[in-house]
Symmetry: C2
DNA sequence: GTGTATATCTCGGGG
DNA sequence: CCCCGAGGTATACAC
């Protein structure tokens, strides 16, 4: 990784045009060739950037970065305050816990969350326009389609609505009810869901995970 | 801006849990207090980060970053290879051209894109659940609601569908047809749109901009 | 503050 | 390779 701090102006021409007037900024060049221009604020997002793969041509006080799509980033330096290079090596990578996939996994293991006698048919059940997260069977033989989200917003309800419309065309599944499951469901999403007869379930992630580890302890 | 390159392990606890095993990384601390941990690859997104506002407590070989929501980022250093601070000052900021707002502007100036005799009623026409990008009048007196996107995906069709449902309740506007306009429309979005009787128009941004400058040249 | 829409979104998975 | 969906999305803007 190469770090350059300097006074520069920047121009990007590609999916859009964007330009930066002269100021002092950090230019970061990573080992994979990607380039990012950072100001001293504005969260982690750079002002301007070019993703790998691309080629960096370094002229006198001027860098021209080009990628295979023909986009270009031009950085013109009038002053360089720091120019340091370090070999960081491979990164072992991030380990995450608590994302939607894990929530789906826990709910698949505990379909009774959606009602007494509810059993799992399968996860990622294909509908023709994308897979529905969980397909379950209710005690009365009817089908339940579950959309799982970490945060329940209106998009998730729309997604489930599209799946339900498709699934209800299948005589072997019909009637299919919808359940929208999330750690937290926004009021607007709940209103739209209930308007459409879709059930809403707020899931306690930590409690579910607790159940899981309790069960593991039995073995 | 402070730049630290060093061997470190990192833990984040907040909306999820995420951890990084020990490796050499760049830690960037911006003037606004935000912290980002970068590996030597992977575009501009850091492996781990904390957005401003937050407080950084620096102990012996260990940084603890806390934000008002109670999330914490802990960085434990075993070795420091670089520790440099620079005052970058205020940034004049990015000037952009070619985003959705410009596309909307150009289409507002050229409603004939949507059919002969089509005229603009107004931009950002309020519907009660958000503004529709363009409201137009067709030659036959019927109304056209246009949703403009740079990239036409399914979310945009859903958005337009919600607007159309609202607009068609208004007897002064009814009947309202929908048109989905984008530089490029994804197949799935097109399928859903056409299912619902919504027209799809792919817009050539450069050609429209050309028309615009031709007209300016007449004056 | 919540809600809504945008983004050169980034990133990862599946066909 | 493109398409699609998720994200600790972040960010701006309206109500």
């Amino acid at each position: 990784m190469r770090l350059v701090v300097g006074r520069c102006s920047v121009d990007y021409a590609g999916r859009l045009s964007a330009s930066l007037a002269e100021a002092v900024r950090l230019v970061m060049v990573k080992a994979d060739g990607c380039v990012a221009v950072h100001a001293d604020g504005g969260a982690y997002k750079p002002l301007n950037w070019m993703n790998a793969p691309n080629t960096l041509r370094e002229e006198e006080g001027r860098w021209v970065v080009t990628n295979p799509a023909g986009e270009t980033l031009t950085i013109t330096f009038s002053e360089v305050l720091l120019d340091a290079a370090h070999d960081l090596g491979e990164d072992p990578g991030l380990v995450k816990d608590g994302v939607e996939a894990h929530l789906q996994e826990l709910l698949a293991a505990h379909p009774e969350t959606f009602g007494d006698g509810v059993t799992l048919v399968r996860r990622e059940y294909p509908t023709g326009i994308g897979p529905v997260d969980l397909l379950c069977r209710a005690a009365d033989g009817s089908t339940i389609a579950v959309e799982v989200k970490r945060r329940g917003e209106i998009d998730g309800v729309e997604q489930l609505t599209r799946y339900l419309e498709r699934l209800n065309r299948d005589p072997l599944l019909r009637p299919v009810r919808g359940v929208f499951a999330a750690q937290r469901i926004k009021p607007q999403a709940r209103t739209v869901a209930e308007d459409r007869g879709i059930g809403c379930v707020e899931v306690d992630y930590d409690r579910l995970r607790g159940l899981e580890s309790d069960e593991l302890r039995l073995f």
